[in-house]
């Protein structure tokens, strides 16, 4: 699919005001991103006269700087990804997965989980929709694990905060966990622990593609609306995450985690995952925390495992999935995924310097 041609067509046909508005927003974004660091230093240390050596003022600077930085990054990433993703749909993904065997199906489901537009609030309808279409349980699980874990927000933020190597490692290991855990769950033959009504669900009505042949201008509007709606939804998590990150940044001694939860501590990863699962946040909220933890010497494998466990496994998700999964399968889902995350954590602690 060529994404450039609708852009060009839109630029030719749109009313001049809209093109200017978009160009203005892009320019404002770039300027704000560029001056972010200088802005807060000038405001806090120059204008307010705070002492940069003081812990409190450094914590404040980190908080404001990171809030603006992450808000900008998120808006940009969500906007671009929503516009691109409006060309894809869960319906098409399901059609691609229908009739696949396990194995290949798991790999494909993991990959599609990364790019398909999806929100965890639709996990249950999608789960039923997949199984009712005859997609194997394990393949469906691969999709459901990959989708929240390796999402566009996580990828974009990791890339801008840690660079491309860590991002690739995160995507790769997230996929391995989703594919592997889905495959294992499929092999365990746990179909009888799916609530029986799921297989009896008759899909009345035709599947509707969300946005076929939508004009490009409407896709841009969808992007803008998505930015607003996600930011409205996650800002409390974001501020809490950045607040905790700022506190760690300002008050925790350098190398604190290297000393107490470093590579030499065999329980580091287990502890991180144990804390991460009950914590409920999304990639955006957990990222500033993760950044500060790493800065203070928490090894990268532990950091990645913590982040994955926060994003992929949570209590609200457990409650949602309980509607369709009986406790044994739910337990298997959580433990296989959790185990995968722990293994990845230890692996990267051993490999990464």
């Amino acid at each position: 699919m060529s994404t450039l041609s609708p852009v060009l067509q839109w630029l030719r046909t749109s009313r001049p005001g809209h093109g200017t508005l978009l160009a203005g927003l892009v320019a404002a974004w770039l300027v704000l991103y560029r001056i972010n660091e200088t802005l807060w230093e000038a405001l806090l240390f120059g204008w307010l006269g705070l002492d940069p050596q003081q812990r409190l003022s450094e914590t404040l600077r980190f908080f404001f700087y990171d809030t603006l930085k992450i808000a900008l990054l998120l808006s940009g990433i969500i906007f671009v990804v929503t516009v691109l993703r409006s060309y894809l749909s869960v319906e098409r993904t399901r059609a691609l997965l229908a009739g696949r065997r396990e194995g290949i199906g798991n790999v494909l489901a993991g990959l599609l989980g990364v790019i398909t537009p999806f929100c965890s609030c639709s996990a249950v309808p999608a789960f039923i929709g997949f199984l009712a279409a005859g997609i194997p349980l394990g393949v469906t699980m691969s999709f459901l694990i990959a989708s929240p874990m390796v999402n566009e927000v996580a990828i974009g933020l990791l890339f801008s905060l840690f660079g491309w190597q860590i991002t690739l490692i995160y995507i790769g290991s997230g996929l391995v966990i989703a594919i592997g855990a889905g495959w294992v769950l499929g092999r365990l033959r746990l179909e009888r622990w799916v609530e029986s009504f799921v297989y009896d669900t008759r899909l009345h009505g035709q599947a509707v593609e969300p946005s076929p042949g939508l004009p490009f201008e409407q896709r841009l509007q969808m992007g803008a609306e998505e930015v607003a709606s996600i930011l409205q939804q996650i800002w409390p998590y974001l501020l809490i995450g950045i607040g905790v990150g700022a506190l760690i940044h300002g008050w925790v001694p350098t190398d604190f985690f290297a000393t107490y939860a470093g590579r030499s501590n065999p329980f580091g990863v287990l502890l991180a995952v144990g804390i991460g699962i009950p914590l409920y946040s999304n990639a955006a909220g957990v990222m500033p925390m993760v950044q500060a933890l790493h800065e203070k010497g928490l090894p990268m494998g532990t950091v990645l495992a913590f982040m994955m466990s926060v994003v992929a496994l949570s209590v609200p998700e457990l409650i949602l999935l309980r509607r369709v999964l009986k406790p044994p399968l739910l337990a298997a889902f959580f433990s296989v995924t959790g185990l995968g995350i722990v293994l990845i954590g230890y692996l990267f602690n051993a490999l990464l310097v």
Partner: protein, 81 residues
């Protein structure tokens, strides 16, 4: 006419419901409007991404919030005999 809004109760679903109410009022229709939150019932409509708009038991939009004008056009089309 019977309108159902399928959604988890998020902001988007509320927006969609608003569009549907306004569209119906503009066209002088008096449909029954019902919101369905139950994910299992939503799956029964073959919808895998909310919000979705169902007119007379037919899913007309799923996975996005259509503009108010689009909803009105869909209502008008459904109301035409």
């Amino acid at each position: 006419m019977d309108i159902k809004i399928l959604g988890s109760g998020c902001r988007k679903c509320i927006t969609l419901e608003g569009h549907a109410r306004k569209g119906a009022a503009d066209l002088g229709l008096a449909p029954s409007i019902e919101t369905i939150h139950d994910p299992v019932a939503i799956a029964g409509y073959g919808v895998m991404r909310t919000p979705a708009l169902v007119i007379d038991d037919r899913v007309v939009v799923a996975g996005r919030v259509p503009a108010a004008e689009e909803v009105r056009d869909l209502l008008r089309a459904a109301a035409a005999p």
